[in-house]
């Protein structure tokens, strides 16, 4: 999905972006991730897709890490 936004202003490390749909949505976006030359009033485009393969890869890796931690838990109340 391609969406178009307008840079309303900059506030510190963030750009305040305006998305015009039925309603106007305003949200913050890190200034450092904007292309060079972006300034107030510039129109930018985001191409947004689901990355299901990467999501599944991350889910598996993290589950494996967590499972390794859980193996150490022997259950029962904990006396510290």
């Amino acid at each position: 999905m391609l969406i178009q936004l307008i840079i309303d202003r900059f506030e510190g490390k963030y750009a305040i972006l305006e998305f015009q749909n039925k309603n106007s949505l305003i949200f913050k976006f890190p200034r450092s991730l904007l292309p060079q030359g972006a300034k107030e009033g510039t129109v930018i485009r985001f191409n947004i897709d689901l990355d299901e393969k990467e999501t599944e890869t991350r889910r598996k890796n993290i589950q494996e890490q967590l499972d390794n931690l859980k193996k150490k838990d022997q259950g029962g109340d904990i006396q510290l």
Binding site: N61, Q65, D77
Partner: protein, 227 residues
């Protein structure tokens, strides 16, 4: 309020300087981290517990420093959303808590991955938030674990750990970000564990939680909301 022995502090600025000296009492600091949660508990005998770390790494690190925290005995993450676990990896690296406890429900975010990587790297004792008690000096934490089966609606929030802290005749309930669905279940599962003196209101006081029957059962003398 009971004649307790409780210092309840909302910390409003980084300029705040707490002190850990001459602790005769339990101290609970509900930190003002904005939209998120973080609470520091310091026992009368010097044990220190951190429940959640809020949404901003630099903020929580500054708070811990300004409170003169030198160690953490127990680190708890109520659930894996970034407004509760940001900076956990840095906290683990700096304070090297011996013990970590969370809901055992993973997330795919970088913040979560950094946290569990740090737990393994620094060899913390990992415990899952099952139905159990944790005894730490004069403190007893009773874990009210996520539902079984897990709630699928608003999953991470509703499967937050709910934690009851007891110290002498004082009690406090930390509710993570549970919502009405989970509150309803808790009324059936754990009604006897819900009545406390202080309630850390769930989900930053969102309208998704704090149903009247739940609040009635908890019946706190004081409630704390972070927003």
């Amino acid at each position: 309020m009971k004649k307790l022995i409780i210092i309840l502090t909302l910390v409003f600025s980084l300029g705040f300087t707490g002190t850990l000296s001459a602790q005769e009492n339990l101290k609970i600091y509900f930190l003002d981290v904005g939209q998120g949660d973080s609470s520091v508990i310091i026992s009368s005998s010097g044990e220190v517990v951190l429940i959640d770390s809020g949404p901003e790494e630099s903020l929580i690190l500054n708070y811990l420093e300004n409170l003169n925290i030198s160690h953490l005995d127990l680190l708890i993450a109520s659930h894996a959303h970034a407004d509760h676990i940001s900076g956990m990896d840095k906290i683990i690296a700096k304070y090297r808590p011996k013990t970590f406890l969370d809901s055992g429900i993973p997330h795919t975010t970088i913040a979560y991955q950094k946290m569990i990587t740090a737990i393994a790297k620094y060899n913390l004792n990992y415990y899952q938030g099952t139905s159990r008690k944790i005894n730490l000096g004069p403190l007893t934490f009773t874990i009210l674990p996520p539902a079984n089966p897990l709630l699928r609606e608003s999953e991470l929030n509703n499967n937050s750990l709910v934690i009851r802290l007891d110290f002498k005749d004082f009690s406090c309930l930390f509710t993570g970000d549970i919502e009405k669905e989970r509150e309803g279940q808790l009324l059936n599962e754990s009604r006897n564990n819900l009545k406390v003196d202080i309630l850390k209101i769930a989900h930053h006081g969102s309208s998704s939680g704090s149903s009247p029957p739940f609040i009635k059962a908890v019946n706190p003398e004081t409630s704390i909301k972070n927003e």
